[in-house]
Symmetry: none
Subunit: 235 residues, 4 copies
DNA sequence: GATGAATGAGGATTCATTCAT
DNA sequence: GATGAATGAATCCTCATTCAT
């Protein structure tokens, strides 16, 4: 009974192939942009033939979509994990900023592709990717709502505007830094942006200058009163 | 060999032609993106022939560049005029936000083209357009610096990050609203964004509004306490 | 975006395709010249699509280059074979002339393309094709040098000029005959040109000038002898 | 009677304009080739507008034709003047070679244009330019015929072949020298080519070395015959 | 399943020529 | 006469996609 197990000797796991293709595509799209990247180039980079890509992805557009979806999913999952171990609105906001910032820095052009190239894809905005990106930015809104509930955040803030300021700000900041070929200090920028959003840029309204003196006096009075209690009781 | 007899045509003022071409190109680029727009389409929309475009613009890229430059120049000039009649950091910041927001709302895709399509234009980032866009966002930084000088703004804020938050936030906000086919309340959003940047979202450690009255009362109490100590016991 | 459904097609051996393309291109280039020939025309003649040409050749210029290179190689190989079985400078020179002449007659415009169209190809002259064409005409120079060594050829001849006279002469001759729609007698022209180069056109060097005087004297002697015959006979 | 002679104050003599246009066109055609030269460029170089060229020349092709015709006429006239003061076939052949060579060296690409670019001009070959170029090369044939008549040239030479060898040789030689960026020694090359054509490259069939000895012997015979006449009969 | 040769529409750009000014 | 803006066909080349092997 020669039960020769002749497994696929050349066939690669589907997931592995796809990962290679997506990696190649992602790098190419990021580096040169969607239009300037050819399927032939992606195939070559992935070490496969052009035709094979079409076994896994409907077309070039679909490939970009899948890549963007994967990116959103990955970062969103990271957000979930982060938030599980962090409490306090400020700390949670900072975590979201930090995570998104590091993701954008890791592949600065990918996020922009969403806005840049998707526009050719007429009806796609209302569907898959649009939903995902909304869900993605939803984490921040949820955290802000919790902050409102807990009293840490003003209840009258424009939620979507805050969301756009955070994500738009990160995108702009990374891209303007890239233009300047400078490095970004991940922690410093996270802190700064978090600060900025939380407390703004205005010089804090100085506390009434006398109040401390008054308190001092009151404390002294209280001290004395307490000290004189024994006599005070008599009458 | 293009040895063909041509139709008739009309000679038009150069500026008029260019305005028509740029309008057509601007709309097409905005609507469909740079790559998806053909010179033939632009020519048709402008009511001229393809060849004529090349009398005025070096190539397609140049046409986009000119359009973007014009946009920046126009809005920058508007900024200058605005700021001439407004004083106070907060009011000036709000004016910049308001002006930029209304420009972006007027042609929401144009500003994005800068970031979306320019990336193919290798060395151009370091040159013309990059310079202009830097100069453009410079107005906000200058206003912020004045605010620091006048004590209205915290001296330790990260200037470029604030800049990126404002312009990136506006861009994202407009584009996310457009996706939802909702209208933007220009004044409300300007106010909100200005507020956000100036004072942040944290619940202010608001000094109790009665504090001075309280202090007064406390002081009177203290006075009485002090004064009545000796006699206070007696009737 | 070329997202169209295609017709069916046949996969063919690479060499076969290339041969067809080159044949079509060669005929078109020869007939109409390089500039007047469109890639579309070549593709149609070759029975393929335009895009396919670009699978084999970088661009139109490259296609011309390849064709010219092939032609030079073919004729050069023929020269080699010819010379292997022929000895004697004159016979060898004639063989080169004959072979080149017949190649030029077979495709009269091809050789001229080299000189006519290559000039646009700026730096190409110093590279591939220039080298090949130099090597090509080198055969004649080598044969001439052998002739000098063997004493059959004057050692003081300007080698490159002779080379240019032979090849330039053939080219001109064929093209002027073609203009006149006349046929060329391959063997006769080969002989004539060979003769021309070998011995020139001058009437063969007059016999030493004194010999005539000598002959005169001899004639006079003879006359006298004849006149004196009557007496001479007596005695 | 104010007979104000208001001559053309801006209008240039027609001939002058044409000369400028032709100069500009000639340089451009020579430098870049016919196809690569645009009418716009010629107009700019000539300091006039594009439209003006069409006042003088039917079209681009016609302009080239005129230029080539002028060139042929100029050189042909020079040939005529040269030949008026030179006699002897060899000297006359050399004069033609020298004159043509110097004309080709002066504008090396012009002559080639005749062969290179004219081919697009289907039926033109049988007409104007073809006639002129035939007439042009006719001078050499005429000189050769005179040489035959005077006995200086072998009567059996292939006239047209000699013509093609001379003109084709010059063309090739100049172009191969240009490729090498070397200078041509006008006189040396003229001499060499003239020599080559006149006497070929073969080592001259040196007069039989014994001929003088033979003559000597013949003279001695004659002497003896003369001396021995009286006695000769006797003894 | 994988391949990669073949497709062919599409697009940017050029330029000879015309003709209203 | 001169101009030069306008034309628009023509061309090379690219590349997403298909399908016979």
């Amino acid at each position: 009974m020669a039960e020769v197990v002749r497994k696929s000797f050349r066939r690669r796991p589907k997931a592995e192939r796809m990962a290679e293709i997506e990696l190649a595509a992602r790098q190419a799209f990021s580096t040169k942009g969607y239009n300037a990247t050819s399927m032939a180039q992606i195939a070559e980079d992935a070490g496969i033939s052009e035709g094979t890509i079409y076994k896994f992805y409907e077309n070039k557009r679909d490939l970009l979509l899948v890549i963007l979806l994967r990116w959103f999913e990955d970062v969103r999952n990271a957000h979930q994990l982060d938030l599980q171990k962090i409490s306090g609105t400020r700390a949670r906001v900072r975590a979201i900023i930090h995570r998104h910032l590091s993701a954008v820095i890791a592949d600065p052009d990918l996020a922009r592709l969403l806005f840049a190239e998707i526009r050719d894809f007429e009806y796609y905005r209302e569907t898959e990717l649009y939903q995902i990106s909304r869900q993605y930015t939803r984490v921040l809104i949820d955290v802000l709502k919790e902050g409102i509930a807990s009293g840490e955040v003003r209840p009258d803030i424009p939620l979507t505007l805050v969301r756009d300021v955070v994500f738009g700000g990160i995108e702009h900041h990374v891209s303007s830094f890239l233009s300047g070929y400078a490095d970004i200090d991940l922690n410093a920028v996270s802190d700064d942006l978090c600060d900025l959003v939380m407390v703004g840029i205005t010089v804090p309204a100085a506390p009434p200058p006398d109040i401390e003196a008054v308190v001092d006096r009151l404390e002294r009075v209280a001290d004395r009163l307490e000290a004189g209690k024994p006599e005070g009781g008599g009458g």
